[in-house]
Structures are given as C-alpha cells and as structure tokens.
C-alpha cells in the first residue's frame, strides 16, 4: 500500500503518523509539500495533525486553500481514501470534504490525555479491524476539537451511519464523563457519505506500541492496509 502524508507549514504530527504507517506496512510513506498541486498516485492520503499556519484565523482554514488540497479534493471525488487526523480533520472539514466544524474546546483549554472511544461501525475501510461497539483507548491533543454541526446535518450523519467514533467512559457509556471537549453527540470522528474520507480528533498514530500508550490505534492502520491491498 502506498500512502502520502501532506505537510503544511506548521504540521507537526506527520512524523508520528509516518512512524505508525511504516510499522504497519513496512514501507515509508511519501511526504507531500503543501505547494505540490500534483503528487504521485497513492492508495491513501493522510492529512496529519499539527498547527498548520499556527491555527491562526480558524484551524485548518489557510491550509484548506492550498494547492495540494485542491488536488486532494479531486482525488477524494474519485474515491481515493483520505484520513484527516486532528488538525487534518479540521483541514478536511474546512476544505468541505466533511460537514461541520471543530470549535474551541468547551473549557477553552488545550487537552492532552488518553480518552476512550466507542467504535460505531466496523463497516468501513478504516474500522474493519474493530468490532462495532468496541471501546478503545487512544490519546487526544488539541485545543479545538469540539465538533459542531447544525441539527439537520447532524441528523443526516446519524441516520446514514456516518459517525465513526464517539467519546465514551472506560466502560463504554456515551455520556458527559468521557467527552474531553464538549463535542456534540460525543462525536470524535466522522465519515463522508461513501466512508472513504475519515476525520477524527484522537491520535491512533500515538497508540501503536505497548510502552508508548498502548496498541489500540494500530488496528486502524492495519485495517486500512488490509482493505487497500
């Protein structure tokens, strides 16, 4: 499987996700600079975490306007899978590949912590290695992960099964206790309609080795590899 990781000025978790992909695929992903409107064909596009353009104005807003994102939109329309993590989720949402926005965390503070997630479906190329309803532990690290969409959009997302992950308590209860940022309906990650684009705030790439935060994130990358090869 060939993966490309986009790099914007201010991206900073591109190394983490590269490390995860390499561990799972045995192959180094290609790094693509934001100014490259045309990059080689890949099976997967990853928009990594970080503070593209310092998170200034609105998170992801400036990166969403870059030449590389215009190309990503074209390829996503052709069905090339796109994975946006954290700032990558914000960028993908600003670029219109996913509905809704990520607002400031409810308490206005940056939060870095392990959280529990409930996997909503195993029916996607990103989640096929998980069971629906499974609870996994991965970290978050963000100041603006408070997902918001208007009632109509939200209903559509829920009805069509486009919610990928929800924050929950360690025993799987989806309530206020496990929600680190105030996200509506505890949403931690969503798909597009065809489930070929996934945006999520938590960092599965930081949960792939037992000594470094556990291995619950590894199945996400393994699932992608399996689905794409």
């Amino acid at each position: 499987m060939k993966a490309a990781i986009l790099v914007f000025p201010g991206s900073n978790r591109e190394g983490d996700v590269a490390q995860a992909l390499e561990l799972v695929t045995g192959r180094k992903p290609t790094m693509v600079w934001h100014g490259d409107g045309d990059f080689e064909k890949t099976d997967l596009i990853v928009v990594p975490g970080g503070f593209s353009y310092g998170d200034y104005l609105r998170c992801g807003a400036m990166a969403a306007q870059s030449p590389v994102m215009a190309e990503v939109k074209r390829r996503a329309a052709q069905g090339v899978p796109v994975l946006g993590i954290c700032n990558g989720f914000q960028i993908v949402a600003e670029a219109g590949l996913l509905p809704g926005v990520l607002m400031r965390n409810e308490n206005l503070k940056f939060v870095c912590s392990d959280v529990h997630l409930k996997v909503e479906t195993s029916q996607s190329l990103f989640t096929n290695r998980y069971q629906a309803g499974q609870v996994i532990k991965v970290p978050v690290a963000h100041a603006e992960g408070n997902y918001f969409a208007d009632a109509e959009t939200l209903k559509r997302l829920e009805d069509r099964g486009q919610i990928a992950f929800r924050y929950c308590s360690p025993d799987g209860a989806v309530d206020g206790t496990g929600n680190p940022n105030g996200s509506i309906n505890n949403i931690a990650g969503i798909f597009n309609e065809t489930k070929t684009v996934l945006g999520l705030m938590p960092h599965p790439e930081n949960a792939i080795e037992p000594m470094f935060g556990g291995t619950d994130g590894k199945a996400l990358f393994e699932g992608i590899v399996e689905a794409l090869s």
């Binding site: 000025p9 900073n12 190394g15 983490d16 970080g50 353009y53 310092g54 939060v111 470094f212 935060g213």
Partner: protein, 746 residues
Amino acid sequence: MTIAAEKNPPVKLPNEPQITPQIVAEHGLAPDEYERLLKIMGRTPTMVELGIFSAMWSEHCSYKSSKVWLKKLPTKAPWVIQGPGENAGVIDIGDGQAAIFKMESHNHPSYIEPYQGAATGVGGILRDVFTMGARPIANLNALRFGDPSHPKTRHLVSGVVAGIGGYGNCMGIPTVGGETNFHAAYNGNILVNAMTVGIAPTDRIFYAAAAGVGNPLVYVGSKTGRDGIHGATMSSTEFSEDSESKRPTVQVGDPFVEKLLLEACLELMATDAIVAIQDMGAAGLTSSSFEMAAKGGLGVIVELDKVPMRETGMNPYELMLSESQERMLIVLKPGREELARKIFEKWELDFAVIGRLTDTERMVLTWHGDVVGNIPIPPLVTEAPMYERPWTLTPLPPVLDARQVPAPKDWNASLLALMSCPDLASKAWIWHQYDHLIMGNTAIRPQDGDAALVRVAGGQKGLAMTSDCTPRYVQAHPETGGRQAVAEAWRNITATGATPLAVTDNMNFGNPQKPEIMGQFAGAIMGMTEACSTLDFPVVSGNVSLYNETEGRPILPTPTIGAVGVIKDINKAVGSRLTQDGLGIVLVGETKGWLGQSLYLREACSREEGAPPPVDLAIERRNGDFVRAQIDAGRVSACHDLSDGGLLVGLAEMCIAGGTGVDVTLALGDVPSHAFLYGEDQARYLIASGRPQEVLSAAESAGIPAVLLGYSGGPSLIVKGLVSLPIADIRAAHEAWLPTYMNAVE
C-alpha cells in the same frame, strides 16, 4: 563600505540626544562603568554604542556578579562534548548521538504578561538548543508561584501554563516534565524556568564562533520590531519623532514562525553552508553579533538598514537592542547565499545578508552608508565589569528534634491534607494542557515516574530528564540546599534505571548587592559543586537570574537543577506506578526521621524551621548505584525516590499512580512513627519487587540498609496501626486541589 570608512568617527543621527549622566544612569551603567567605557572608546559614545555597552555589560549578558562563582562548578567528564560557554551544553549519549540541553529563566516577563512571557521563554530556550544543530525532543518547566491566596497567583498560573503549552504544543515538542511550587516569597516575583533537550549527531554540532574574513553575515527569521527594547532608555523622548508608536512593547511569541525557523535551520544545517550560527536572544542583534565575532577573534560590519523591519521609522539603536523573537544570525561560507536564501524562502521566512566578517576586531555599524557605531570588540569582553561582591554565608540552623514536633492526631486526615497541599497536589491540571505525547516516544509520562523518559527515535535508547530544587532547604542552608537539589535530580534519573550524565542549572536569586543574598548564591554553588563532583554529574549549561525581589523582599533562593541521563535499553526502565498485587515493598536507605524543614512541619504544624536534611553524597552514590543495578538486573517493577513528604507520601504516590494499594508494617526502631513516615531523610528509595528477597540479600552484601515493609495489593493504603485509606480517596484529594483552586473566583 571600505576599510577607510571604518576609521571615521561615527556620525550622529538627526535627533540623537546628548549623552548626559542621566541617560547613562538610565542605561544601568554605574559611573565607574561609564568611565571604563570612555577609556575603551577614547570618546563619547553615540546612543547606539551606549546601548550596546549597556546591554553587553548588563548582569544578564555579562554575569558580572556570578561569574567568579560559576567558574567553580565542575564542567568536565569524558562524555561532555561542550560545557558552559555555548548556547547549550552537549553530551555524548553513544551511537554517534549527542544530547544538547539547557535551562533558561523568563521570570520578569512572565510576571508582567504571563502568557507571552512564558511562551517566549519556551521559544528562547528552544532556539538555544536548535541553533546548535539539535532537533528538540522534549521540554520541561520549573515554575514557582506565590501563595495561592495572593490575588495575582491564579491569573499568573493560568497565563503561564497556557503560554508554555501554547508555544510548545504548536512547535510539536512534547512537554514531559517539570515542577510547580507555591510560596509567599514568590508573590511579587514568580519563577518560570524552561528547559529543552535535543538530539544531534555528534559530528554535526554547530557553534557560535565566527570564522573566515569576508564571509557573509545573514539574518533569518522574523522581522525586527520594537519589542522589549530596554524600557529605561526609551524615556529619552527627544530621540523619537513619534513617541506613541515607539513605546517599548512586550515581546509576543509566534510559535508558528519558530516551527518554520526550526525546520529551515535544520534543512540548512544538513548542507555544508554554515560556518557559525547563533540565535538572537536577550539583547538581540547586539549580543548575537558580538558573541560570534568575539568567539572567532574577528570583526564585523553590520549594515543596519538591511535588517528586515516590521515597523517604519526604526533607528539603529532600536535595531541593535530589539528583542523581537524568532530570529537567527548565521555566518555562511562564501557563495552559499543563494542556497540558503532558497531554503528560508521555501519556509516563508525573512532572509537578508546584513554584513560580513572583517579582521579588524571591531564592530562597525552602518546606516545608509554612514558609520553610526564603531566599537573595539576584545576590550568590551575582557574589560567587562566583574564583581567579587561581598558575601556572608547563612549559618546552619539548629537541628530540630523530632520529639519537639507533634504527631498527627488523625493519621488518615494528615495524609489527605499533605497529599492535597499546593506543593504536593497533582499537577495534572497543568500537564494535561501540554502535549506530552507528540513524537510518540514518551515512555514515562508526567506523574508516572520520578523522571520523564523519552525514547531516542530510531533505537532502544532512552533519555531520562528531570528538574529539581527544594527552595525551603536552600533558604535554610544554601550549601545543603545546593547539594540536595543536585542529589535529588540524580536520584530521580536513577529511579528510572537510567544513568545520570549531566546537569543544567538555573540560578534564581535576589539582589546580589546584599551580602546575605550573595552568600546564598555562594553557598548554593559550593553545595552544587560538591554534589556534582561526587556524583560525576558535571554542569554543562545554565543561566543566572538575579534581582528577583519586590520591595526589598527576595524570593527563596532557587537554584533549579535540570538533569539528563541515559538508559541503553528503554525496555528495562521502570516508573513509579504500582500496578500489580503481591510485590514486595522494599525501603532502601536509612531513616532517621528528619523533620527539620519538612513539608509535614510546614503544612501540618505551620512551622518553617530547623536544619534541612543533611545530604551525604557518598551514601547517595552508593544507594543510587545499588538501586540502578537492581533495576538493570530486572528485579524491580516500580521505583520511587523519597523526597518531599517522606515515606508515607512516597507510598501514596506509588499507589495512586498505579491504582494498587499496599499493606505495610513499620520497623520503627527508636524513631517516632510520625518522623519515620514524614521525615525527609535523603538517599532513600522505595522499590516494588516480585523478588524482594533477592533485593534484600543484594543490599545486605553491599552493606546497604534495606527493609521489606510489606506487599502491594488491595484497594487501600494500609500502615498497620496508623493509616488505612482507600486509594480512591487519596487520589481524589490529590487531584482535586489544583482544578478546584483554578476554577474558583476570588
């Protein structure tokens, strides 16, 4: 610019004021220091020249009060590649890799504007480390705030923490450790000490010494504005046409630009273009250009009108003294300008050739073709004021007999109170605002061990790092306190299984012109020197912050020690979390029950008195080497050193970190139980082991006091006959204080 023009006396700029005694005084130069300046210059200086002398001879840049003492610190060891004198210290950690680290203070700016002050402090220390070619892999921060009940404290905590997080998180460097204390002595003068650790190949380390006459001097990074220009000097209003726009301003950090600067510098460093590189920190362009030229024994011409400027109407004085952030000065090899320019333009940063090196040993400044400053470099360095200020040592206070300290009436309540006191309460509210996981290499997170442990990417090696100081001990007896700070840092590294390698320090003290303050400084240095020598723990970098006083009231003397150690196989490292039942809990080291200056005495009895616990360095070394060997032998599941709060607090911390209880029985001897449980005797560790008998017999053959206290398991912390508390209750008390405090309104 011709060499002939260099000989011309500088021209005065329109509107440039006459140098009066008042202007000299406003620049912080004493009359005899100004005499010295006149002798070096042989004439009255121009304003920009005066500003340069003032900056270079300031306490901050010249270390004039502290230098004689700093020289005493041990700085050498076979693994030291670069000791004090460069932007950061460098040690060899094997496999062709070096660890590069330093700590620096941003105390005053953080008190004025906590968010930006702390943020730019982090930015500054990061630059010190990456200017030497290292990619930063971890940040730490040591914070001291005033009394929680002081009206400013909450606002300062909130701003400083947000600022440190705001900068470090955006840079993508994990902030993995630090310390936070509260004491009324810091009410008007908080301490914000930031430390960065980076990694570089040993054969690609960059230094500041300029070389190569004619080589271009290049400015990169952000544009220069009027940030942080020395307040006093700005009162010469006639110097400005538009005084409102020229008012000195707080430095604002731009971590986004710093991230670009980091990547651009590392990209340029991978080529062969760089001769020397130096960040612009305190006193900006002045100290960076001066230091590069002085270290290389060369001269420099700077064409100030070529400096990228953020504001209109800036003058040479402002350009030389601005402390705008996120800037670097580089000497390039001839002909490499275009290569370098391309890299910095790719990263959307300013790039300008602003001068070149000469063989004149003079700093010549030009402004649109005119020479406006012309200073001989060597005398400004060699004849810089250096003071042997009078000092009187703090006498050792009388030893406090534990029997004069009351035992707690209610043991459970006393433990809960201590675990929730500001100094011991969990700082999770703080470190959850710091990204401590980015880079995917954090093996021991905050609160999970005595030192943070970070894997060096691409291998199995780990770096342990910590920052320590117990200011109340230093206040009581600076020599003991200095010794203890170093010993505790060494112990914290040891408790993870890593080998302590070297130290960076941040000497925060009051007004050095007071003999008792200078005596605190001297005493602390003496203690540190002894400890660093005995423990083979050299000082490789550091920073001094003096005049930390408000209205004549000094802070507690705070020589913060940052330390780094290495472990070859990170899989062998241990944290302090107790996660399994049935482990033997072994206390290593002797417990005499030392209550003088203990937290128990302060928190439970409201007394701050007595001699601090003595530090026997030979015993420290013996016990620590023993513990490390036990960890290496695989006999240890968890390890915790004993410090603030003593044995009972140490046990409680292990329990709540891992969610497992303990059941222990004390072998008191003739020590009163409250002294045994709360005494702060040094050189002690708690080890949790599945094979405690092996640990005990190894200790016996090494002649080291060690005793099996009991076993882990169950939901509670139980000390037979004294304490019985559910772990959940201790944790609740421990974790509640800071968030509750921060969410309250005065």
